[in-house]
Amino acid sequence: MDPAVTRVLVEASVKIALFFGVLLTVIAYMTWVERRVSAWIQDRRGPNRVGPFGLLQPLADGIKFLFKEAITPPHVYRPVYLLAPVMIFIPALVTFSVVPIGPAVTLFGRRIPLLIADVDNGVLIILAFASMGVYGVALAGWSSNNKYSLMGGLRSSAQLISYELAMGIAIVGVLMATGSLRLTDIVTHQIANGWNALWQLPGFLIFVIAAFAETNRLPFDLPEAETELVAGYHTEYSGMRFSMFYMAEYANMITASALATTLYLGGYHVPGLAALGLPETAMVIVQVLAFCLKVAFFLFVFVWVRWTLPRFRYDQLMNLGWKGLLPIALAHVLWVSFLVLAGRA
């Protein structure tokens, strides 16, 4: 094979393996963070028995899930029933491939961008795969052949579709300011002109609210409202298959946090870092750490909100999405276009 092709393939494979490993670890530890933070909010102790501070708890949970019996109820439609958890999990991971976690770094004499795919239509790819997540939920609900599952799946699909719209229109503001669909361009534009969240606050807030709805987190976790729907679309799942849904939820949270950081909080940008005059490698490390810190902040907010706010009623959810967020997002787009034109004149 051509050595250039081989080099590209090796580079991509190493990056994919690295991203995959880190994401799965963070997903596992998010369950621990969720339980510890919820305990802290509710003045309890939380899991603190397995390892120091309970740090080995995710490992114990993983082993438990693997060894539990995975019951397949006799009334499910088996091929789709087995496929659905995977179809939720994969889009969440794929979306992360276009998010830059740091500037390009020079390693072994090559410029290596710190993202898997620096594609021209990064934002569109994100929206495309976000819309793919609906299938997993809807199919899990349908293939379980259970009225609660079906209701949960239907609710979730309607919710995802409604909030995708507001999210997409909120992102339009960022795109107009940058003039590019490439996520690295969006970050460099913010480094030059200040973070988008500072002057597009409504868009930022709409994006974050929609991200909560897209990830099925409280206060928008109606698909699994246990008081009405038992456990919604994953009622009939057990063992590792059930845990796939949870892993997908956390993977979605991490991706949504990374997107909010990249689109609105300057990505890996640290204000005033260039003035310090550090060597290049140290700069890159600090910037990657800054990115992780921003993502961690969003993840904490996700957990914080979950243990603070009660759940919406379904009509409230639809009213908020269609009559609240969507008109505000449209007005925001108009306002940003005026600002962009004024800035250019």
């Binding site: 094979m1 092709v5 091929p79 239509n121 819309s131 609906v134 809807a138 199919l139 079906l150 669909l181």
Partner: protein, 218 residues
């Protein structure tokens, strides 16, 4: 060489379809035919594995296979899933042709939005899986065989007599070809009228749907 690859693909697909149609219950057998065919084809064409044509052929294989499964599969829900796979393959074709924007839009609009509606309709209609394949009655069957034979002849003719130039050379395109920037420029200058006319059409359809749906409430 490309001709051989394509003919091989078509042959494997036809064999798969015949096995599926004659023995609907033996899904594993059809799968084995498919897998064995794929392995043989890759082994025969291993020197072409880095060429664009090979990958285009592979995507075409996935597209045709999923299209076949839409028709063959007894469960309407699974048919919808294969239609999603098919629309994805079309998006991959756009990518191979350097039309990245179109590929993303294909996934968002067709695979993402329209197919969700299809899925809902099939889900809520609660269609039962059909027992096996219903062979089309009498005259329809002969018509299908004749038309299929004609189409196969046409394909064969086209493959045999194609010119020496490759089907497409993405390397010869402009660097901006297929990007959102270029597409937007064209839509808002050269094709502005068509663009606005299409949007008017869509709004008319939307208003029409609302009027029809709300007629009862008044």
């Amino acid at each position: 060489m490309v001709v051989r690859l394509l003919l091989g693909l078509i042959f494997v697909l036809v064999a798969f379809a015949v096995v599926r149609a004659l023995a609907p219950a033996r899904a594993a057998l059809a799968g084995i035919v498919l897998g064995a065919g794929a392995v043989v084809l890759v082994a025969l064409n291993r020197q072409a594995i880095t060429s664009v044509e090979f990958w285009a052929g592979l995507v075409g294989f996935a597209a045709i296979l999923s299209a076949l499964m839409i028709v063959i599969h007894p469960n309407p829900m699974v048919s919808v899933l294969f239609l999603i796979v098919n629309l994805f393959s079309v998006a991959l074709f756009y990518l191979i042709l350097n039309a990245q924007f179109l590929a993303a839009i294909q996934v968002i609009v067709y695979a993402g939005a329209i197919m969700v509606l299809f899925l809902f309709v099939v889900m809520l209609l609660n269609l039962k899986a059909e027992e096996g394949l219903r062979g089309g009655g009498g005259p329809q069957r002969y018509g299908a065989v004749i038309l299929g034979g004609l189409f196969a002849g046409l394909m064969f003719h086209a493959l045999r007599n194609r010119g020496p130039r490759p089907y497409f050379e993405p390397g010869s395109f402009d660097s901006g070809f297929g990007t959102a920037r270029e597409l937007g420029r064209l839509l808002f200058t050269r094709y502005l009228f068509a663009f606005e006319a299409a949007s008017l059409l869509l709004i008319a359809a939307m208003i029409g749907a609302v009027v029809l749906a709300k007629r009862r409430l008044r």
